[in-house]
C-alpha cells in the first residue's frame, strides 16, 4: 500500500510525540510538514530507516529567505523513497539573524544523507545558515573571503573585492 502524507505525519508523531510538528501545510499541491529544528535530524533518520517508508534519497535541499519583514529563513527538504515511490517534504523555519555575526543555526543532516553535504554548504554560502555538525562547512561557489550572503533579500554587494569594483 501507498502511504499518504497523513500516515507519515502520524508515524512521526507516534515516534517522537506531537511537539516535534510545528505546523503543516496541506493546502499546497505538494504538502509540507514543518518541524522544530531540534528534531529534524532524528526525524530524517527515522524516515530513512523505517521499513514502511525507506526515504533513501534526499532529492533536494533548498533554503529560502523570507526577507527582513517576516524575519525567517526556511530550509526545505525534499525526500524521496526509491522502493515505494513516495515523496515527503519537510520544512524548518528559523529566525534569519542579521546576516553578519548573528547567523541562524540548524542541525546538519549529513550523517543521514551525504547529498546534504554540498547542499548545506551551498545554503551556508548563499544564506549564511550554520549547519551544526557539518564536517566541512565552507563556502562552495563563492570565494572564501567573500562578504555577505547574496541570496538574502536584503543583500548589498561589497564595493570592492581585492581592488576590483564589484558593481557593474
Amino acid at each position: 500500500m501507498s502511504y499518504t502524507f497523513q500516515d507519515i505525519k502520524e508515524a512521526i508523531q507516534t515516534q517522537f510525540g506531537t511537539q516535534v510538528v510545528v505546523s503543516e501545510n496541506t493546502a499546497l499541491q505538494q504538502p509540507q510538514l514543518v518541524l522544530s529544528k531540534e528534531s529534524i535530524k532524528n526525524v530524517c533518520l527515522f524516515l530513512r530507516d523505517d521499513n514502511r517508508f525507506f526515504f533513501d534519497q534526499l532529492s533536494c535541499l533548498s533554503a529560502l529567505d523570507n526577507g527582513p519583514v517576516k524575519n525567517t529563513i526556511e530550509i526545505i527538504y525534499h525526500l524521496y523513497s526509491i522502493p515505494f515511490n513516495l515523496f515527503f517534504i519537510l520544512k524548518v523555519e528559523v529566525e534569519r539573524g542579521d546576516g553578519k555575526e548573528d547567523l541562524p543555526e540548524v542541525p546538519s543532516i549529513v550523517d543521514v544523507w551525504r547529498t546534504a553535504d554540498w547542499h548545506e554548504r551551498e545554503a551556508f554560502d548563499m544564506y549564511g545558515i550554520k549547519f551544526s555538525g557539518h564536517p566541512d562547512l565552507r563556502r562552495i561557489l563563492l570565494p572564501a573571503d567573500w562578504e555577505g550572503y547574496p541570496l538574502r533579500k536584503d543583500y548589498t554587494e561589497q564595493e570592492y573585492y581585492h581592488g576590483i569594483k564589484v558593481a557593474y
Binding site: 499546497l28 499541491q29 505538494q30 509540507q32 533513501d56 534519497q57 534526499l58 532529492s59 533536494c60 533548498s62 533554503a63 529560502l64 529567505d65 526545505i76 525534499h78 526509491i82 515511490n85 517534504i89 544523507w113 551525504r114 547529498t115 553535504d117 554540498w118 547542499h119 548563499m126 563556502r139 562552495i140 561557489l141 563563492l142 570565494p143 547574496p150 541570496l151
Partner: protein, 385 residues
C-alpha cells in the same frame, strides 16, 4: 583545503585544474598524492558561477529560460523541457498542451540527449587516450547541432521550448531530415560501440576502476546514468512518466558488471552508449507520430497556449525530470502576486554527482582519477550555475 602542516613524508599537494583539459571545464581538484597514489582529493568549484538563482528572482518566468539553457549547455533542450513542465504544472495547464507539442519536445530532447552523451563518451575517450572516437562523435554531433539550429536558430542554447508551447513548429521537411539522420546514425552507433565499449584497451582501462557501490550512490543522491551504471533500473522518464514518455516504448539500460564490477567506469560508459540506442528508438517513434497521428496542419499553432502573463498561484513546487546527467530538479516558491519567482532553486545533477568523487577516489592512481572523473560526465555550467 589540506593542512600543509600535517603532510606525511613523501606526500605532495597537487592542483589539477582549473585549466586542465581532463577536468571538463573549470574544476579545480586539490589532490593529496603520495607518489602516484591519490590519498585524498577535494574538488573546488565556483569559477563559472553566474548567479543563476539571483537572476531568476529578478526575471519573469519566460525570461528565465535562456538562463536555464546556460546551466547544462550540452543539453539545453532537456533543461528547458523540465523548466517549462514545472511552470506549466504550477499554472495547471500541463494537461492541455497539444500532443504534437509534447512529441516535438520529446523529439528534440532526445536528439539533445544523444548529443550530450556523445560529448561525454568522446571526451571520456580523450581522457584515457583514445582520440578516434572523439572525432567520430563530434562529426555525428554536428548533424544534431545543425538539425537543432534549423529548428531554433541556435546551435547549443536554444530557447526553443516555451512555457505553454514552442517557439515555432518544426520547419517543413524536418521529419524527413531527422529520419535520414537516424538512418545515418544507426550504423555509426554500432561503430561507436565497437570502438569504445567493446574495445579491449578501453575495457582494460576502465573495468574495475572507480567502483561506485549502489548503497553509496543512493546515499549520495546520485542519479542518471551513474546510478543506472551502479545497477539500479531507475529512470524518471519511466518512474514519473512525464510528457509523452508513457506512450513510448523504450528500455532502461543498467550496468551489470559485465566486464568487471557493477558500478565501475566501464558500466557507466556502456550505459551511456546503450542509452543512445534507446534515444534513437524514442526519436523513431516520435517521428512516426509526428508524421502520422499528430502531423502538421495549417491550423496548428505551437504558441496557442503560451500564456500572456505567467502568474502562478502562491505555492511551493518541486519538479524533476531526467536529464542526460541525472535528475534535474527545480524548486519554485511563488507568491501569487508577481510574475517573477520568489525563489528558484536548481538541483543540478552534475553538482550532486560530483560530490561522490572524494568518496570513491581514495588510494587510486592519478591516471585513474582522470578516468573516474571523466566517467561522471560533469558540466561545470550546471555545477556552478
Amino acid at each position: 583545503m589540506f593542512d600543509t602542516g600535517k603532510l606525511k613524508r613523501g606526500e605532495i599537494i597537487i592542483n589539477m585544474g582549473p585549466q586542465h583539459p581532463s577536468t571538463h571545464g573549470v574544476l579545480r581538484l586539490e589532490v593529496l598524492t603520495d607518489g602516484e597514489i591519490v590519498k585524498d582529493v577535494i574538488p573546488h568549484m565556483g569559477y563559472l558561477h553566474r548567479c543563476y538563482e539571483k537572476h531568476a528572482e529578478k526575471l519573469p518566468y519566460n525570461q528565465v529560460i535562456p538562463f536555464v539553457d546556460r546551466m547544462d549547455y550540452l543539453a539545453a533542450m532537456n533543461s528547458e523541457h523540465a523548466y517549462a513542465m514545472g511552470v506549466e504544472r504550477m499554472l495547471g495547464i500541463d494537461k492541455d498542451i497539444p500532443k504534437r507539442v509534447e512529441y516535438i519536445r520529446v523529439l528534440v530532447a532526445e536528439l539533445n540527449r544523444i548529443s550530450s552523451h556523445f560529448v561525454a563518451i568522446g571526451t571520456y575517450g580523450l581522457d584515457i587516450g583514445a582520440f578516434t572516437p572523439f572525432l567520430w562523435v563530434m562529426r555525428d554531433r554536428e548533424h544534431i547541432n545543425r538539425l537543432l539550429e534549423w529548428l531554433s536558430g541556435a546551435r547549443m542554447l536554444y530557447n526553443y521550448i516555451w512555457v505553454g508551447g514552442l517557439f515555432y513548429d518544426l520547419p517543413v521537411g524536418y521529419e524527413d531530415r531527422c529520419k535520414d539522420f537516424i538512418n545515418y546514425l544507426k550504423p555509426k552507433l554500432i561503430e561507436l560501440q565497437k570502438v569504445i565499449i567493446d574495445n579491449k584497451i578501453f575495457i582494460e582501462r576502465t573495468a574495475n576502476i572507480g567502483v561506485l557501490p549502489l548503497d553509496l550512490a543512493i546515499n549520495y543522491g546520485i542519479t542518471g546514468p551513474m546510478l543506472r551504471g551502479s545497477g539500479l533500473k531507475f529512470d524518471l522518464r519511466k518512474v514519473d512518466a512525464y510528457s509523452v514518455y508513457p506512450e513510448i516504448d523504450f528500455d532502461i539500460p543498467v550496468g551489470t558488471g559485465e566486464m568487471g564490477t557493477t558500478g565501475d567506469c566501464w558500466d557507466r560508459t556502456s550505459v551511456r552508449v546503450k542509452e543512445c540506442f534507446e534515444s534513437v528508438r524514442i526519436i523513431e517513434q516520435c517521428l512516426e507520430k509526428l508524421t502520422g497521428e499528430y502531423k502538421r496542419t495549417r491550423e496548428f499553432d505551437p504558441q496557442a497556449l503560451v500564456p500572456k502573463k505567467i502568474r502562478p498561484k502562491a505555492m511551493d513546487f518541486y519538479v524533476r525530470a531526467e536529464n542526460p546527467k541525472g535528475e534535474l530538479g527545480f524548486f519554485f516558491r511563488t507568491t501569487g502576486n508577481t510574475d517573477v519567482p520568489f525563489r528558484c532553486k536548481v538541483r543540478a545533477p552534475s553538482f550532486v554527482n560530483l560530490s561522490v568523487l572524494q568518496a570513491i577516489s581514495k588510494n587510486v592512481m592519478i591516471a585513474d582519477l582522470v578516468a573516474i572523473l571523466g566517467s561522471f560526465d560533469i558540466v561545470m555550467g550546471e555545477i556552478d550555475r
